[in-house]
Symmetry: D2
Subunit: 342 residues, 4 copies
């Protein structure tokens, strides 16, 4: 951490900061420039909380942290990429993983139909929501355990792993019983109690970035899960909130290469929630593949116009099949001709 | 809801939309302009979910909602302002309510000292965090139940009501046992399970706006609480996330008059978290009062430089006393000379 | 335009709005719903300014515009895509156009070297800045006319068209004399005097989106140029400003398919300015191609560590050659195997 | 400037950075921590451009600037506040300055009427737009020189100074001829050619913050004006662009105390453009006064419903008079009872 003193800071003030740094177990390296003195505080993290309050000492202009606040999620903590195996599927390996299915599980028929569409299109994992986080208390809140059962059945019938969202600590156990991957939604990315709880689960966790979560905060949330005991975390960029309203959120596609540089965890993209309109799923999925993401999560619905949630951003079966053809061709090309493994 | 058709939409497409609207129990009012046809859909909310998916019908350009999605929180739902009584304190009435205390409860001594500072300064309610939502899993996570006990004791010793944050559904009961007001933090503003749970509590709820939450979404979250049975909701603006980094967040002070126009609920401001620096608390508290807020929530600490969280944004006792003198004078002036009741 | 009346609006207030609409030459279509009355105002744009002020009439809650405010830039105004020819290069046609060169023109040697690097790599157009918009008055402001001469010479020696930025109305004529395409930078996207002036130029204009410009505003700025007489406008997404600081700006890659849906104009991407770091140029260029952009603008410098501006985001020659190999292969694949023409 | 090396940076890489720093005339202070080495670069600003490119040297993780990039605008550059005198009005002194008038000058009658309303209400300065920056090329673009003449006449008849916006370098001379203060609008805050030009004018400049401009960038733009020779710069916060759409922009009221800490220049607020609705002008003006701004700029129009631009955010005369009564009372109270001079 670096402490920048004010231009007119007195020697006494500088001394006080140096003493403080030492008193919390750090070494202090002051260096005086033409205009002001800066002081490096070097040490481990024991006194970090106390170091921050140096900002309130007289004569201090600001403090600048140097070290990244996450450790286990950091690329420096681990050689190579984390590859997560779920059934026959590898996430973070050489393939491009497609998770597909409806936003909400609405009925047995709709779930089974969606699952067979996902399978026919060549998806790897089936998604479907049983507990739904809805902005309005008057909107459909999900089929809950009954939905989980339908999802599990759909997975068994198609021979594919399934993923679903868990909203609350009290539901983690039951969701873990039915699902192969636990999803933490964007609105819960800093629900720390929930992060700790899924950190104790035995199943992988897909962690969605919040609409206003920085990349550093996303990695801190992953750190909560890993430091609670669960190494299998998949990160998911799903659009951030900006001033632009032409799309529902703004897909931060640069987050893929940035995360790849900072962490060993797999990174996927959710173009359905980012754009909020089925029209943009095809180009954004191509973009996700080209930019180096490990996969995508896509909403597919047998009859989007009858969906009880997010129908406007779900693909119809025919469009999904065409998209998947394209995705698999492009994946092959990139792997063989461009030596790019996702 | 208004459906805007594409410029080149065919009569057949328009007919299909009209049929759809009728099939979900609404009336359809098409009207053809020079360039395109728009169709009004009039009715109650039963078919609302299905109406939304009209966006995926061919020929539709976009849909525009007309009605506000919240009802109970709306000013139209209730004449007059909601005034919440906690002990001798009225929130949302004619007075300007000051909630003061440390960010985290750290020890018996620190809590009692802070409480007496709050009392001496003339605050109305004592705040203090027992369960702390921290971005880093390595930061101090709060004293939990022991902290709740200290907070309650501080309230009893000073004769003041107390407020503290609840993070998780499983802790609502215990927090309700000790606290007079339950606080929902910015990161949990869309933790819907938690909102429903505090909606069943018998104590008032202070709901903080999230860094990424629109005013409409904040009111929808209040609607979750009210529709679960708890009418006593206090809204709190605490800064939104923007591109500006000179302050920790950007205090959206206009949210006060905007909320006053839209809802009957009390609205307070948290200048400490918005600005992230004690230096700005005084001017922003004056601004909060002048703009018409019902109160503020301020961090005070006997020794900010030793605080285990957010020390840099806590006021020292002397500064707090001076601020309170100013606040009370300005409050009197505005009430008597400008006929402004907060 | 739709006028939404307040819930408790009186018949008299509704009548007054209807009269107002008629008085400015529109037709009024009131329709009364369960909760409130809405009034459609149908007509051409003559009275538009006056319609907006309906918002200040008593009883009006809000007004909602229906028509897009741009016309000539709209896809509805023109069948097919605008293809702009500059020398042998087509922008907006079937190829993926690469514009490459240094941020600033610094010397004859550096400009010529950069141009030959661009040519060797297979770029289509040479870029280079002679007038530089710099945040600090103390930074290098560009070689001005001398730079323009060097750029022109570089274009002639390599047989490639050249593009450069114009900052001020008084420099449009001289820049037009030397350059093949005039660039309007992000900070000038709403410099309306400049837009009108380049709208009278005989050369194509590349219009960069501002850091906080909505897609609609960008199209309105294009409308300024087209309505002044210049049809040849190329749009460029270069990152918008958000809360995320891991990249300099946030590349809004969805802007490509969104713009392709709304306008007939070509759309390119500038990954160098968006990301602010050379490391991310390769993946983002691949993403730009896959998502359907018509080209990219990339900073290349013979010795980035000696560049006087934006050195950190410039590619070294070897990295540029490798990127270009990849780009041309991917372009071929997409055109032939996926039937995607950029 | 501080250079943070990567965790695994070699001694050779560290040496290379140190040599580079020295080669551009700075001193290098390396200091090795537990995890990584950081290097302080101390010196004056001669080599600053070259220092930045250190970011592209191998082994470097990031660079962190320490010094503020502006000098003349900085509080450290000048003791006391800059007080600007225009006629009998002092801006930045002990009074709260109100600039009032219509958004656009539309006719002789409307301008004169507005000026007398401003005078009757007790405003200090008359505002009015002759050159209008409009998002749409089809909107009214202003009366230009004829408008300037009407504004000047209005100032003479009422004995008040006048302020108007200048959009383009070619119009600075004529605007300076008629106006007492030159206004640079939000969209031109980084129109550097225009900043340099008004920096050579003999009249004070009111510089509006852009919707996307950080506080540091605003001060850099002020630095352009001051370093060109004009010390009389007034800063104006008028709302920044965020995700919130309940107001047109988000008034960043904290910018007032932040700017007061960083610069000696006067700071005013424009609540009309920030909120975009007349309803919020009164509370925000009170807030501006309480938070310590030096004044406000308010839109007033004799008949807002007939205004050709921004009618919805203009105050009617009666509302303006009531607001001014309140402002003057509150100003007196704050000065005498709270010892706060604006």
């Amino acid at each position: 951490m670096i402490i920048v003193m004010k231009k007119n800071a007195t020697n006494e003030q500088i001394e006080r900061v140096v003493s403080w740094i030492k008193s919390v177990g750090y070494m202090a390296h002051p260096s005086s420039g033409v205009e002001r003195t800066i002081i490096g505080a070097v040490g481990d993290n024991r006194g970090k909380e106390h170091l921050k309050v140096i900002e309130s000492l007289t004569g201090v202009e600001k403090i600048i942290p140097i070290l990244k606040p996450y450790k286990l999620a950091s690329r420096e903590a681990k050689e190579g990429n984390t590859v997560i195996r779920v059934g026959d599927v590898e996430i973070g390996g050489t393939g491009f993983v497609v998770m597909a299915g409806p936003c909400s599980i609405e009925s047995r028929e709709q779930m089974m139909e969606s699952a067979f569409i996902a399978k026919k299109g060549g998806a790897d994992i089936i998604r479907g929501g049983a507990y739904k986080p809805r902005t309005s208390p008057y909107s459909f809140q999900g089929m809950e355990e009954e939905g989980l059962k339908l999802l599990k059945e759909a997975g068994e019938k198609t021979g594919m792993p399934v993923i679903t969202e868990v909203l609350n600590t009290s539901e983690v156990d039951i969701v873990e019983e039915y699902a192969d991957i636990l999803q933490i939604g964007a609105r819960n990315v800093q629900n720390f109690a929930l992060l700790k709880k899924v950190g104790k689960a035995k199943k992988p966790v897909l962690l969605k970035r919040g609409m206003m979560t920085t990349i550093e905060e996303l990695l801190m949330s992953a750190e909560y899960i890993i430091s609670s005991g669960n190494d299998d975390v998949i990160l998911c960029e799903r659009g951030i909130r900006t001033f632009e309203t032409a799309t529902r959120n703004t897909l931060d596609i640069s987050a893929v290469p940035v995360l790849k540089a900072l962490t060993h965890l797999p990174v996927i993209i959710d173009p359905s929630h980012a754009a909020g309109h089925w029209r943009y799923i095809q180009p954004l999925t191509r973009g996700a593949l080209a930019v180096g993401a490990d996969g995508v999560m896509i909403e597919v619905h047998p009859e989007p116009e009858k969906a009880v949630s997010d129908g406007g951003q779900s693909l119809k079966p025919e469009k999904f099949y065409r998209l998947m053809d394209e995705v698999r061709k492009l994946e092959q090309f990139m792997r063989h001709e461009m030596k790019v493994s996702q």
